[in-house]
Subunit: 317 residues, 2 copies
């Protein structure tokens, strides 16, 4: 908090915006009060949902002198007005690695984590070494700013490692599933927060994805969704999908949208949608939609432009 | 549709945006296809919800040469790139007026409607005359472009009329409720689409509003919501509310948001909210929120800045 106060004071900003992901939002009103008391600046909170570093509130940026964006690493293309404060977990990764040991089979393990824990990766490698195992961490790449870091849309860090299996240290199933789908290799996920550890089985997710692909086969009217979020706006990918679909006789329509919600798609009366926004939307939220929502790669399979055996998860370059 | 094609052709636009309220959205994919076939322009649909003329998609405007906005009248401040096509109902108002006759008591009736039917108001007055009644229509005023027109946030047209009661011709309960609350007079609503006709009873709504006001009395942390929608962005009103609340010892925080949804407020951990956005949000959707969401006027009552007997609905100038 001192760092934030200092930056605001030094900047001379009179109106300050605060943005944070949902999990940190509850702390914002108190933070706003403290900022105003200590710097005299008016504070405006971003009330819209925030799902990642790709999801910065540019509208808020227009109304204020400075935006403090909490909880994410910059993607490298943040506007000048935006200052990022990464959220780092205070706990360590050692116990999480210890718990994973009985599940590991090989001697050489690819290790990956998210930005919250990335500063503790060395500890993780040490614990592996104590057990006679070699942890391998890939270099920063694409949207990942740190070695060993993965994002929900970017798994480049773990690709090309000469390892037989992976250890993912972090929360949730999306990242380790992405590693499994990207590499086709065994992945152990160990959660430093909940203490859970398990081998990831990508089959249920893949079966759901093939179900969606099958249901989209006969679709005629297809919405191709482009996100308004600065880090998710893939016009080029979307226009390529529109063109591909048209050559196969489908009615394709471009749709520009901020937050993708089921009723947005229902009201358009389309049979299927291809989302070029955050890859998690098609994969995580499939059950929310009453029409198949595909990734670009999945749609390529639907129209016969990509072979089924070349299925791969959607990733950002 | 010919008018739209002509405008696009004459404008030379190569990329065209289409925006419509939810009820008209289903027709957009077909319209998009026809536009592309006849003009060669690429079409991009606005996928976000659209609740009024105040809710134009400026982000879409940045990506295209021209935006066709269907279903609303301009508020007079639409950007150059936006062309409005009002949606007008083909049916007439005569039957709706006939059905209202048995419920009318006076001889002089204030008549109001929404933009979809405003071109048929003369017919309505004729039917009243046939029954020996005088229909009175107020002049265009504020956000209302036509005589007799009311909007959900603007009832100026019907104020100051020397009538004993009002006849509202249109769909839904929000507009006639607004007339009743604004004027304190009897209102008959007759719906030309459903054929329903009834006297409006504002008491249940008022009781709910007083319930919300009562629940907000002890609130400490209060979010003051400003909408990002161009026609709903009331910074001045919001800042006045923040200042008023602070002088009464409340913790006030400004929140800037696109679509106001219950989870946005829950995650902020506030006890109550004051919405300076569309007045319908606080009134229509109250049941969706687990905290009281007030209009600015209602919050003034909470903090003792306005007397209870001066309760009035929130309106835009």
């Amino acid at each position: 908090m001192e760092g934030i106060i200092e930056i605001i004071s030094n900047s001379g900003a009179r109106i300050v915006g605060l943005q944070a992901p949902e999990g940190l939002k509850r702390s914002l009103p108190k933070m706003a009060k403290e900022i105003t008391e200590k710097t005299g600046a008016e504070v405006i909170l971003s009330g819209d949902p925030c799902y990642g570093a790709c999801d910065i509130d540019l509208d808020l940026g227009k109304e204020v002198d400075l935006v403090i964006h909490l909880g994410h690493t910059t993607l490298g293309d943040g506007p000048d007005k935006f200052v990022y404060f990464e959220a780092r977990m205070p706990g360590d990764l050692k116990d999480a690695v210890e718990r994973s040991i009985p599940l590991l089979r090989g001697k050489k393990i690819g290790v990956a984590t998210t930005v919250q824990h990335v500063h503790k990766l060395d500890d993780a490698l040490e614990v592996l070494q104590d057990h006679g195992l070699q942890g391998v961490v890939g270099p920063a790449c694409g949207r990942a700013r740190y070695p060993g870091q993965v994002l929900g849309c970017s798994f480049g860090t773990i690709k090309g490692l000469e390892v037989g299996e992976y250890l993912f240290l972090g929360t949730g199933r999306f990242h380790p599933l992405g590693i499994a789908l990207s590499t086709g290799k065994r992945v152990i996920a160990s959660d430093p927060v909940t203490g859970e550890v398990a081998e990831i089985d990508p089959d249920p997710m893949l079966r759901r994805r093939w179900g969606a692909i099958a249901r989209a086969m006969d679709s005629k009217k297809i919405a191709v969704i482009v996100s308004k979020k600065p880090g998710q706006r893939r016009w080029e990918t979307a226009r390529k999908i529109v063109d591909l679909g048209k050559t196969k006789g489908r009615d394709m329509v471009l749709v520009y949208v901020d937050n993708i919600e089921p009723d947005r798609l229902i009201n358009l009366g389309v049979d299927a949608a291809v989302s070029t926004a955050c890859p998690r939307i098609a994969l995580d939220d499939a059950a929310k939609y009453n029409i198949p929502v595909l990734t670009p790669q999945e749609f390529e399979i639907v129209i016969g432009y990509r072979r089924a055996e070349d299925y791969e998860p959607d990733e950002y370059p």
